[in-house]
């Protein structure tokens, strides 16, 4: 049964005001096109959960979509601060919950595994544990020592970008796999965006590469270049220039709103966006192919 639809339809159907959204990806495969579509559709009061909010959440917060962020690192990786989220947090206009990466990822792992919590060894640092009441402790019944625990995170919707999937939603992912699998299994609904929709025979030729199975997927959208200015391993490079540029663009509310107007509100979809990005950037971000060694599953 095909779940193919446009990204516009998928967002309209599966992302509602007030939802907790997890747009997955650690640097890699961040589904920017989906974030932009959520902005265009004017969603409000979202709880935006991500280990690294990255520019995608900075933009969504700037557009007024969010009432809360859940995170473990609010930086522009390798550049500096996420100015908009930071300003809103410092002004007290945005609710937040903060973890370490491991705490955040353990919350997703518990959610994905169907467990109420996950244990973590103590780190000797207790300040964040004291600041965030969702950190708790339980006693290891074998040693009598305490471990730190965090509760399951089960987002209403996860958005996952992948290299390729079939129209039912069985997805191959390679390169940095961050927390995509965990987010997909933890969420109540999953929107998959893909660089390529392929026949199921391609997926079935390499089942160990399939991190997400069809039956946790709600919608499948064919969205080439969905991740720009993030990247898709093997398909296009990370646009580091834009990450640096955003640091300047986000210095004033006016320049941010002008950017949103030009690149989000004024654009129909990712196809129009990628055309507007232009041939020079397409060339700059193109990547020569380099293939994995063959793998023989055997005709059993």
């Amino acid at each position: 049964m095909s779940k193919l639809c446009t990204l516009k339809e998928a967002i309209a159907r599966h992302v509602h005001d007030g939802d907790c959204v997890y747009a997955a990806g650690f640097t890699h495969l961040i589904p920017f096109a989906a974030g932009h579509e959520i902005i265009r559709q004017g969603r409000k009061d979202l709880t935006l959960a991500r280990a690294t909010p990255d520019l995608i959440y900075d933009q969504m917060v700037a557009a007024g979509c969010a009432k809360k962020v859940i995170y473990s690192y609010i930086g522009n990786p390798g550049v500096g601060s996420l100015r908009i989220i930071r300003t809103e947090l410092e002004a007290g206009r945005l609710e937040f919950e903060e973890y370490s990466h491991f705490g955040m990822i353990s919350r997703l792992q518990a959610g994905a595994a169907g467990l109420p919590f996950m244990p973590m060894n103590q780190t000797a640092a207790t300040a964040l544990e004291q600041a965030n009441p969702l950190y708790r402790r339980v006693t290891d019944p074998y040693s009598g020592r305490e471990v730190v625990v965090v509760p399951a995170l089960n987002p209403d919707v996860a958005i996952i970008h992948v290299q390729r999937c079939d129209e039912r939603g069985n997805a191959h992912i390679w390169g940095i796999i961050g927390e995509q699998k965990e987010a997909a299994f933890a969420a109540r609904r999953v929107i998959l965006t893909a660089e390529e929709i392929v026949p199921e025979e391609v997926i079935r030729s390499d089942p160990n590469r399939t991190l997400i199975p069809e039956f946790v997927v709600s919608a499948v959208c064919h969205v080439p270049y969905c991740a720009h200015p993030s990247y898709t391993q093997g398909y296009y490079d990370r646009d580091n220039d834009f990450y640096l540029e955003w640091d300047k663009l986000s210095e004033t509310p006016e320049s941010v709103q002008a950017w949103l107007q030009e690149w989000v509100y004024g654009i129909a979809d990712r196809e129009a966006y990628w055309e507007k990005v232009g041939a020079e950037t397409h060339r700059r971000l193109s990547v020569p192919p380099l293939y994995a060694a063959p793998v023989n599953y055997g005709e059993y």
Partner: protein
């Protein structure tokens, strides 16, 4: 005498702290440079791992972020973030962690969270990322940072990552597996923990005075009896 930028100086000294065969949890910026330098000189078997889940990276260009595709292509292995924090870091498979932060205090505790009060801060910093667990669980931690008074308060506003807490005994009592900070490499010299876990000045770079280091440190800094002058970069 050749002149070096402060960054080059810190990079070379950080590289020298690495041993051949070390498994290093690498951050962006200087640690990344230091690891690449070490791997190309005295530590060809250094294994670079990244919190993004990359093991044995061989970057062909300098990555801006720790999730760059050049880290993946020709890496030894790539795994999930949950795996990197459990199978690698929590399990004790990481020899060295590099850390930075807005504030480092007298006992090597690090603040990467807030300046001021947590709920009403003057500045909200990016936060822990991987550093809370790296500081707790890597066998050895090194801190690379410019030496400025505001970065070296007597006590951090918020202890995102544990150094020796309020003394080595406190860290040991916590039962945490890692050895804690072994050295702070700055543009002025080295601070290393004494038997009580207090950071003391153990080396200055050529031409740097003890007074200059003290003037840039927010607590009465002890100086090691055998204060060294560091060996300059060799080219």
């Amino acid at each position: 005498m050749t002149t070096f930028t402060a960054s080059e100086l810190m990079t070379v000294h950080a590289a020298r702290l690495l041993r051949d065969g070390d498994v290093v949890f690498v951050g962006v910026g200087l640690p990344n440079l230091a690891c690449n330098l070490a791997r190309r000189t005295h530590a060809p078997n250094l294994v670079m791992i990244y919190e993004a889940g990359v093991i044995g990276a061989r970057p062909s260009r300098l990555p801006l972020s720790i999730g760059d595709p050049t880290l993946v292509t020709r890496a030894t292995s790539v795994c999930s973030m949950y795996d990197i924090f459990t199978l690698y870091l929590q399990r004790g498979n990481v020899d060295v962690g590099f850390l930075g932060g807005a504030q480092i205090d007298r006992f090597g505790n690090i603040n990467a969270t807030v300046i001021g009060d947590y709920n009403h801060p003057k500045v909200r910093l990016p936060g822990s990322g991987g550093s809370m667990e790296i500081a707790g669980w890597a066998n050895r931690c090194y801190i690379i940072t410019p030496h400025q008074k505001r970065r070296f308060p007597e006590k951090v506003d918020f202890a995102t990552s544990a150094g020796f807490l309020n003394g080595r005994a406190a860290r040991e009592a916590s039962g945490v597996r890692g050895g804690g900070p072994q050295a702070v490499v700055t543009n002025l010299g080295f601070l290393e923990p004494d038997e009580n876990g207090e950071l003391v000045l153990t080396a200055v770079h050529p031409g740097v005075t003890v007074e200059e280091v003290q003037a840039n440190t927010g607590w009465p800094l002890k100086t090691a009896a055998n204060l060294r002058v560091t060996r300059p970069p060799s080219e």
